[in-house]
Structures are given as C-alpha cells and as structure tokens.
C-alpha cells in the first residue's frame, strides 16, 4: 500500500491533465480561458507557460465551433481534451457532440473513431441560479456512441482523464466545480482508473445507496450518520453513466435487497429512473422494498442559498429517507 497524500479535487484534476500532456505529445487542451487566464477554475494554471500555446489553446466564445474543431482534430489523429467551461454552455455544443462525435463511427461504417475527451465543469452549490446550475448527465447518458463518466471522488479526479484518453470513442467527463476546493486522501501513486465499472465506495448490508458525482460524498456522509443508528448502508458510485454497469448494481441489490438512488439531477427521466428500471427488470425478485429515489427538486434552481440547499438531496435527507424506508 502506497503512502496516502492529501490533495484537493482541483489539484487532482490538474495533476492528471499535466500527466496526460507530459506523456503523450498528441494530447492538447483547448477551451475558453484555459491558457492565459489559467482556466475558469484555475485547473490549468501555469500550463500555458509549461506546454506552450500549441498545446494549451484559448478559443473564442463559441462552444459549437471549438467543440467541432476538437472533434475534427480527433479525426485527424490528435488526442484533444476539449474543456467546456461549464455544462450549462454545452447545450450550444450538443449538435457537435451528438450529431458528430457520437455518430461518426457508425456513419463512416466503422472507419473513423472520434477519440475526443470533452470535460465539463458542472454541478450546483455556488448560488449561480437557474441558468448556471444544470445537471445534464441524463441528457448525455441517453446518447449511444458516447462514454459518459462522472468524477465523484478525488481518486477519479486524479485518474479518469488518463483512462478516457485511451478510449477510441468520445468521452464526456463531468467534473464538479463545487468540489474543487474539497480535500481528500488518495494514494500517492494514483493514476489511471477503470472506466468500465461502478465502484463500491462503502460496503454495507442493509441498503444500497446508488449515486454518482456530488452524490457520492453526500451518501458517504449519510452512511456515516446511519451507522450511528446501526444501519449498515452500502454506497455504490456509478462512475460510468453510459454504458451503465448493470452488473455491479444487481450485485449490490442481491446483497442488500433494498435501494435508494440519489442524484442532484431532476427526477423525471433521469439516471435514477434508469437505475430503478433496471433493478426492476433484472433484480425484481431480490427486492424487499420498492426502490426509492432522492433527486433534485424539479424547479429552476433558486438563487437564495437556503432554497438552493433545499432543492438538492443533502446527507441528512438521505439518512432520513433511509430510516423511513427501513422503518427504524
């Protein structure tokens, strides 16, 4: 076991990007303010000086244009990392992502792969109000041809982009801005992580908390609260939202026989609906309780802090919900 180091989520992301840029000359980073400004969230601070303007490219405010350019570069054999400053602006790039990145392998009869990694800062929690607080994971996870990853813990922040770059197909990487300053412990030699499987972050026997992204730490906190009451909750981090790792979900259910799915995204037609449906389809006879969900309240995100907090599942809400389910 190697030494554990303390690191912020931002620093973990940064180290991963630097390692990617250092180890493969084809890798380059492009996005709004990634160069001279050092990244809107300071993830690429110092990169321009270290790697030069050819590999750290500032681009105009045109999500559709530069995402398309990144896809073109991938077709040309490069390994572009496209940073879409926040997920909210990715709506403008959706045509490129969905009509080009996800389909070209199919449309070309298998001749061209689109090996592009598109990073998006996302998440809620800094009073950015309705237009800048979106959770579009369900949108992208809906699209065949994309690989959709969610960076819910520090270890994945340090490693996911490295594995994503190895994928021959387009990868959407969701990073959470509200977690940038959060400190966590990871092994000193952290690096590439598996991007095909969900991961149990806490093992338990009484109920499966199935979640991703910002939900992971919230569920772990809830599990710690529940442990005080003698409830042994398992936390399953989906990590890969597409293609979904059904096997790990069913394995967890077969052990706990109960599930609560937690996410910040709106409830209707969401990742949690998909998880719930799959449990019903393949794990029905393992269930001892109906699958339940805790999701974002279906309103445009309010600006006031207390309302913003109330609009999302919080650790206390999760713990309360579990206790209600288990009638304890």
């Amino acid at each position: 076991m190697s030494k554990m180091i303390k690191i912020t989520y931002r620093e973990a992301l940064k180290q991963a990007l630097r390692e990617a840029l250092q180890t493969d000359e084809k890798v380059f980073l492009m996005g709004e303010d990634v160069g001279r400004y050092g990244g809107a969230f300071a993830v690429s601070k110092g990169f321009l000086e270290e790697f030069g303007p050819d590999r750290i490219m500032d681009v105009p405010l045109s999500e559709s244009g530069f995402t398309g350019a990144g896809i073109g570069a991938a077709l040309g054999g490069m390994k572009p990392i496209v940073e879409v400053m926040t997920v909210n602006f990715s709506l403008l790039a959706m045509d490129q992502i969905i009509n080009n990145a996800s389909t070209l392998l199919h449309m070309s009869g298998g001749q061209v792969n689109v090996s592009v990694v598109i990073r998006m800062g996302c998440g809620i929690g800094s009073q950015l109000a309705a237009q800048h607080s979106h959770s579009w994971e369900p949108f992208y996870a809906h699209v065949p041809g994309l690989i959709v990853l969610s960076v819910g813990v520090h270890e994945d922040a340090r490693g996911m982009v490295l594995t994503a770059l190895k994928s021959p197909d387009p990868v959407i990487l969701f990073e959470y801005t509200s977690m940038l300053n959060m400190e966590g412990e990871i092994p000193e030699n952290s690096g590439e992580v598996d991007i095909s499987k969900a991961k149990v972050r806490r093992s338990g026997n009484d109920i499966s908390l199935i979640t991703y992204g910002t939900g992971v730490y919230k569920c772990l906190e809830a599990a710690a609260l529940l442990a005080e009451d003698g409830i042994d909750a398992e936390v399953l981090d989906l990590r890969v939202l597409r293609p979904m790792d059904e096997e790990s979900i069913l394995e967890s259910i077969s052990k706990t026989h109960r599930a609560l799915v937690v996410e910040d995204a709106w409830r209707s037609v969401s990742i949690s609906s998909e998880v719930s449906a799959r449990i019903m389809e393949k794990g029905f006879f393992e269930l001892d309780l109906p699958v339940e969900r805790l999701c974002g309240v279906e309103v445009p995100m309010p600006y006031p802090k207390h309302l913003e907090t109330a609009a999302l599942p919080q650790p206390m809400d999760i713990a309360d919900k579990v206790k209600k389910m288990l009638r304890s």
Binding site: H257, F284, F285, E286, L287, D288, L289, R327
Partner: protein, 390 residues
C-alpha cells in the same frame, strides 16, 4: 430426488390439508402405494405415489393446509431412475389455474391481494410459510423479509403441536360451491356443441340379461359398466375426444372414464375408472362397485379424482330421456346417457317397439368439430349394440 407434490384433485381444488402421513421417512414406496390422506372439499382423499423409491423426508406437517403444487415430500428414487425429477400424480386437471374458477356471481370472496415484497415471497415459498396468516410490517402493511424470517423461526418452535385430525366430511355447501365453480368456468370458457343419437338397445339389454342370468346379485352387471366400456373403445377410435384443452388439443395416452355420481345430500362427485379400455366389462363393474360407496363416503383416491380424460353422465332407469352435459374442464367432451324407454322405432324397414336410448355428446368446439363428435357417437353406437365384442 423426486419431489412429491400436493396433487390437484379436480379443477376446483386450490389447496388441501395434509391429514395424515401413511408412510414415514425410510419406508420403501411402490407405485400405487398410499402415502398420505389429504382433506379437501371432496372429503378425505387417499393420495397415491406413482414412482418407486425410499421416502426421504416429509416437508409438510400433518394438519398443515398447503396449495396445490406444494412439495410435500422428497423420495429417493430406486437406482436407474435417478433422472426422474418430479412426481406428478396430477395430469390433466391442474393445467388451468384455479383462481379463475370463481365466477363473479358467487358470494364475493373476501380475499384481498396480499402485499408482499418479491424477496419475501421467494423466502416464504422456500420455507412453506403461509403468507395469508402473516401481518406485514413493511410499507403499506406489506410483508417483508423480516416478517417471513420471524414466521419461520416461530414455526420451528411450534413444531409438532397436536392437531385434531378427525376427518370431517365436506359440507353440502362446499360441494355445491365446488360444482358451481367448475361448471361456471366451463360454461364461461368452453364453447360447447351438442350432438345426439338414438340407439336401439335391444341387443344390449338382451346380452345383459343373458350375462346376468347365472350371476349372484352382487356380481350382476349394470348398463353403466357397458356404457363405460363402450365409451372407452369409441374413444380409442376417436382419440381427439380423449384429450384436454391447454391452449391447444392435448391427447391423453390413458383412457380414464369419469362418471357422475350423485350424492344423497346433493351435489356430485366424478370418480374415474382408470384405463377403462384395457379392463373387461366385469372388471369395470367390480371397479364401480368399489368406487361408488367410497365416493359417497368421501373416501376416494387421488388418481380416481384427478385423472379422468373423459366424463359420462347417465340418468338411469326411468329418468329423463336425454341429458346434455357440461364439460368438466380441461376435458373436451362429455357423453350423456338418457333413460331407456320403449319407443316406436324402425329397423330394416320394419316399425316395431324397441327399447331405445338417446345418447348425447357435448364437445368443446375449440378442440374438435361436429364431424369428430359424430364419428364418436357412431362408434359408441356400434359398441353399445355389440356388447359381446366389448
């Protein structure tokens, strides 16, 4: 290992109470041995086994009421028969789910859907827990895993509590309800067609008179024995009527003729003469003499109640001229024998007074058409009129 299950003793049977084990673990069982008595709406029935082996384990306690299909016991097969997996003393009758046998006009059942988690249901089935007796502690009062586990541990403790096992004959009402359920279902589901044929019984009666002349009273043949044998032979010729309907016509190998026995208290039971085609008329008569008193005393064997492949209803002397039957599901035909009466009847261009009988056939039009039915009545007439060849 052979899994011996609670047989269905008729389309109207949902469950049975295991009244008494006649065999104990370690006993060697032979085909036809009576393994247990089961209390049903039709009385105390002796349940037979149909395979050889050593009784390994009893899974259901005496006094326990279990649904049809519940595994009652495990039997270790004799060497060379290990491949046999299931003991299925039931053939035709349990092909259709019983639940639908309750027509809406019957007194409304108070049974509500039981809320139970899929996992709890699974565990309950594995442990033979009767979920109808449980109170759930889950959401909306649903039964959850913990409730079953509690019941299982309780069941372990209550082991071997003595239960009054005196067989109680079924009430008039319960028989009425059983008949009502089976007949309502038949009328609801089966599109019947009806055929009838008038048969000159002169030869038959003459033959019977001759045959009975030198017999003691107890050994005398009744027309019923001739009817059963003739029907069996006719079915052998027209096998499509010796069948059940299970989303399609399924012919049966054995010809087992059920015959309607009226009970003095009201209601009917339909015991069966097994393999009637390979029995002589005398053997059939012996079987009838054996079965009827037992049927009236509600002491029939499982095979006699469950294995009929065709049914007949006979009115008997002096009764109505014709009887049109309602098919006993899932069978596909029922023959009705009216009373024999003297009628003006032309034979070979000569009008005379002959003893005649009207026979009818009700057929399931999903399974067969009138042509098949007509062929059957033709064959039946031929055998009835030539009893010496039976």
């Amino acid at each position: 290992m052979i899994r011996f299950k609670m047989p269905s003793l008729g389309a109207d049977m949902k469950d049975g109470t295991l009244a008494e084990w006649r065999k104990q673990p370690g006993d060697f069982l032979q085909r036809g041995d009576i393994i247990a008595d089961v209390d049903t709406q039709k009385g105390l029935i002796e349940i037979e086994v149909f395979s050889e082996g050593t009784l390994e384990k009893l899974l259901v306690q005496e006094g326990e009421k279990v649904p049809v299909g519940t595994v009652l016991a495990l039997i270790r097969p004799v060497k060379g028969h290990e491949k046999e997996e299931e003991e299925l003393p039931v053939t035709s009758v349990d092909l259709h789910p019983i639940e639908e046998a309750k027509p809406s006009e019957l007194p409304k059942s108070t049974k509500e859907r039981i809320k139970i988690s899929p996992l709890a249901r699974k565990i309950a089935e594995e442990n033979h827990v009767d979920i109808t007796q449980l109170k759930g502690t889950g959401p909306e009062g649903a039964i959850v895993k913990a409730d079953i586990e509690k019941a299982v541990s309780k069941k372990g403790k209550e082991e071997a509590e003595p239960i009054d096992l005196k067989p109680v004959p079924p009430s008039v009402e319960s028989i009425r309800m059983a008949v009502a359920a089976a007949m309502s279902r038949s009328n609801r589901e089966i599109p019947h067609y009806y055929l009838e044929k008038r048969v000159d019984m002169s030869n038959t009666l003459e033959w019977l008179r001759e045959a009975n002349k030198n017999r003691p009273v107890q050994k005398r043949l009744l027309p019923l024995a001739v009817y059963i044998k003739a029907v069996a032979k006719a079915l052998d010729e027209v096998p499509d009527l010796n069948a059940v309907w299970d989303n399609g016509l399924v012919r049966k190998n054995e010809i087992n003729i059920g015959f309607v026995v009226s009970l003095r208290s009201g209601g009917i039971v339909v015991p069966s003469i097994l393999q009637a085609d390979s029995k002589t008329v005398d053997e059939i008569m012996d079987a009838i003499n054996d079965i009827i008193p037992r049927a009236r005393a509600f002491r029939l064997r499982s095979s006699e109640l469950s294995e009929s492949t065709f049914t007949i209803s006979s009115i008997g002397e002096g009764g109505a001229d014709k009887v049109y039957g309602i098919i006993y599901p899932p069978q596909v035909g029922i023959a009705g024998f009216g009373g024999i009466s003297e009628q003006a009847f032309a034979v070979n261009g000569m009008l005379g007074i002959h003893p005649v009988m009207d026979i009818t056939l009700a057929g399931d039009h999903r399974a067969t058409d009138g042509l098949i039915g007509s062929r059957f009545l033709g064959a039946l007439t031929k055998y009835l009129q030539n009893p010496e060849n039976l």
